[in-house]
């Protein structure tokens, strides 16, 4: 089993090579998901150790990079699942349908109209060209509650489906859906206050 050196041409190569070649990318990916430097570093290490152990099972069908990112994705989901189990239980428990409704209700009047109607952010492409938009987005992502942020990134960055998220995190479909809705509402409000607020300072109100 351990005649690794001779087999390296077909195999995925050496773990130190992985670190040298893909370390940055793995780290960036973990940071996008978890927004915590120490945690992201740990994830990179765990990923490479898991890859080292699973080296013989690397099929060569995907590139080494894709293979490593795949392992990292699993590690991130595992971590988030643990987080949800350990620390966020209360959040989930407090997420009864009524509580969730009440939170959302604050944004609307009794007839279901916006209390503060969303503003026009202008041309989408131009939006994404502005450095300030991205700064605000990062800041707003950091400000989301942990559970909302985790679910939002699992969905929007990792590309998991709602069903996968519910299954992995053992939350109900309603909770999952509500968490995503709240995360999006929170982000848009935060962006409007921060980035659009800067843009329009003195013009609104």
């Amino acid at each position: 089993m351990a005649k690794a050196t001779g087999e390296e041409q077909q195999g995925p190569g050496d773990p130190e090579q992985w670190l040298a070649r893909y370390g940055d990318e793995l780290f960036r990916y973990a940071m996008l998901q978890l927004r915590d430097t120490n945690l992201a570093e740990d994830m990179v290490q765990e990923t490479l150790l898991a890859a080292l152990q699973a080296r013989e099972r690397y099929s060569g069908r995907s590139s080494v990079k894709t293979w490593l990112i795949g392992i990292l994705k699993h590690k991130v989901v595992d971590h988030v699942r643990k987080e949800v189990r350990e620390s966020a239980r209360e959040d989930i428990a407090g997420l009864s349908d009524q509580r969730a409704e009440a939170d959302i209700d604050e944004l609307f009047d009794a007839r279901g109209h916006w209390i503060v109607p969303p503003q026009d952010w202008g041309d989408p492409e131009r939006c994404l060209e502005q450095g300030r938009f991205w700064e605000a987005l990062q800041a707003c992502l950091d400000r989301l509650k942990v559970l909302q942020a985790r679910i939002f990134t699992l969905k929007e960055i990792s590309g998991l489906s709602n069903e996968e998220i519910c299954k992995e995190l053992e939350v109900t479909a309603t909770n999952c859906w509500v968490l995503l809705y709240r995360a999006r509402m929170g982000l848009r409000r935060c962006l409007e206050a921060g980035w659009r607020g800067d843009e329009r300072r003195g013009v609104t109100e």
Partner: protein, 92 residues
């Protein structure tokens, strides 16, 4: 009956997660036609989606994404890998 902005905002969010049913799509479209707030909301959701796509694919502008793996961590991980790698060789 006309849907409220609240209901429409929920459906717009849901439309990012699943395909809306035909009647849902129709009601949302009818509402957006007459409601500026919800039209803006809907566009904002598309901008958010587009932005997170760029992040996921690493296409965001320079300086937005965190820089690479810090040197200290790189060294630490390299040492750990060496240790495990060699230990693995011994056992095999």
């Amino acid at each position: 009956m006309m849907m409220s902005c609240k209901e429409v905002s929920m459906l717009v969010s849901a439309s990012l997660d699943r395909r809306l049913r035909p009647w849902e799509r129709l009601t949302v479209r009818a509402h957006l036609f007459i409601c500026k707030g919800c039209t803006h909301f809907s566009r904002q959701m598309n901008i958010l989606r587009a932005a997170t796509r760029e992040l996921a694919e690493g296409r965001e502008p320079d300086g937005v994404a965190p820089s690479g793996l810090p040197d200290g961590a790189r060294r630490r991980i390299r040492d750990t890998l060496r240790e495990h790698h060699h230990r693995g060789d011994d056992h095999d």
